[in-house]
């Protein structure tokens, strides 16, 4: 059976704010556990801010993200044989207590709960999962949980899988495999058909993801580019004593782009042009730049709009 994924239009997370929750006293033990909370946090930071998520742009322009914060909860321990409800009640309680932040205004928050080594889910066939619950304000709270076999690479790989799937299919209604794509039960998502392949991106162990545009499992990463590089994006003419605004779109959000404007009409006497730049994140992955050019002379002025791509965002 061929693998095909279709976007059914449900909720996705365009630019994820990951909140990490380490559940259980084992995370604060002395000596520290393997992996440590710091190691896991570093791995997740590498996953969300590196090139791993850039391939999700093919799915409704989904982008990358950042770590919103983290907390370690030692006042309780997850039960062995925990359920989704155990985890959602735990998160809900932390939000109510003010221990962790409530949803952001755009509901781009993803709470990820890391289990201590050796604690398993009620369904022992699952080592990680993402889902959601509905809070008292009728908002859907997206979360995932990650089991821990005591190795950083395993925790990192499971986390990469769950974050990518939550972004592309937060509620089981967005990017899903067509019937027959997955053999297992539950939401058939872009990580589920690629569990056999892993890799390293930005120093973190990750799992490959299905690329519908490539019809293959891919370990996404940044394209090979040398920074900085420059170019002319467009040319234009501004009428005398006037302003005009242009826009240019689909710039990768992970690129740092600086804009300048250069007249190509000679004026030996006076300053000719000023400009300002407005920025729009049209989706998680893509930026639209709006460039307004003002001509302060009494004749039309031709110009080049030039970009300088300085590097990646971080």
């Amino acid at each position: 059976m061929a693998i095909n994924f279709t976007d059914h239009g449900g909720t996705v997370i365009q630019f994820v704010r990951v909140y990490l929750i380490f559940w259980g006293s084992a995370w604060a033990s002395n000596p520290p556990p393997t992996p440590t909370t710091a190691q896991v946090t570093d791995a997740v930071n590498r996953i969300v801010s590196g090139g791993y998520l850039t391939g999700l742009s093919q799915y409704r322009g989904i982008g990358q993200g950042y770590i919103l914060g983290s907390t370690t909860v030692t006042s309780s321990n997850p039960p062995n044989g925990f359920t989704d409800t155990n985890v959602s009640n735990f998160i809900s309680g932390l939000i109510t207590a003010g221990t962790i932040p409530n949803l952001d205004a755009d509901n781009q928050t993803l709470y990820v709960v890391f289990m201590p080594k050796g604690v398993s889910a009620s369904n022992s066939g699952f080592i990680g999962e993402h889902t959601y619950y509905t809070n008292s304000s009728n908002q859907r709270v997206h979360f995932g949980w990650i089991t821990n076999n005591g190795t950083l690479s395993s925790v990192s790989i499971i986390t990469s899988h769950e974050i990518a799937e939550s972004m592309t299919d937060a509620e089981g209604s967005a990017v899903l495999g067509d019937p027959g794509t997955c053999s297992g039960s539950g939401w058939c998502e872009i990580g589920d058909v690629c569990e056999a392949t892993t890799g390293t991106v930005n120093g973190a162990s990750v799992q490959s993801l299905w690329s519908e545009s490539d019809k293959a499992c891919k370990v996404f990463d940044y394209p090979a580019q040398t920074f900085p590089f420059v170019g002319r994006q467009f040319t234009g003419t501004v009428a005398a004593n006037s302003s005009h605004r242009w826009f240019t779109f689909n710039w990768p959000a992970w690129q740092q782009v600086y804009w300048t404007v250069m007249p190509t009409t000679v004026n030996a006497a006076n300053a000719q042009l000023t400009w300002n730049v407005q920025v729009q994140r049209a989706s998680g992955a893509f930026i639209t730049y709006w460039i307004t050019v003002n001509n302060s002379t009494n004749v039309p002025v031709n110009f080049d709009a030039r970009y300088e791509v300085l590097g990646r965002w971080q």
Binding site: A105, A253, V279, Q280, R281, A282, L310
Partner: protein
Amino acid sequence: MQTGVQFRGTVSANQTHTWYTFNWNPASHIIWTVVPDSVNTSAPEISWSVAVQLASATAVTYWISVTNSTNANVDIEARYAIFP
């Protein structure tokens, strides 16, 4: 080129907010850019300007003002690029 995100914040609807970041090397050539972290599918969201202060012989403070031109709060991130 060394690049990074220096800070993130939120600008209220139709407001301008100024942040500062200090102890930058006066000898470094730095370009600041700001992008929204909030998605808006229909309109430009922010613009920014940078003011600079030589706070001492060895420390520069940058003041970054971000203007939100929309009717909703916008999360932003301020990015730096340091030329080698």
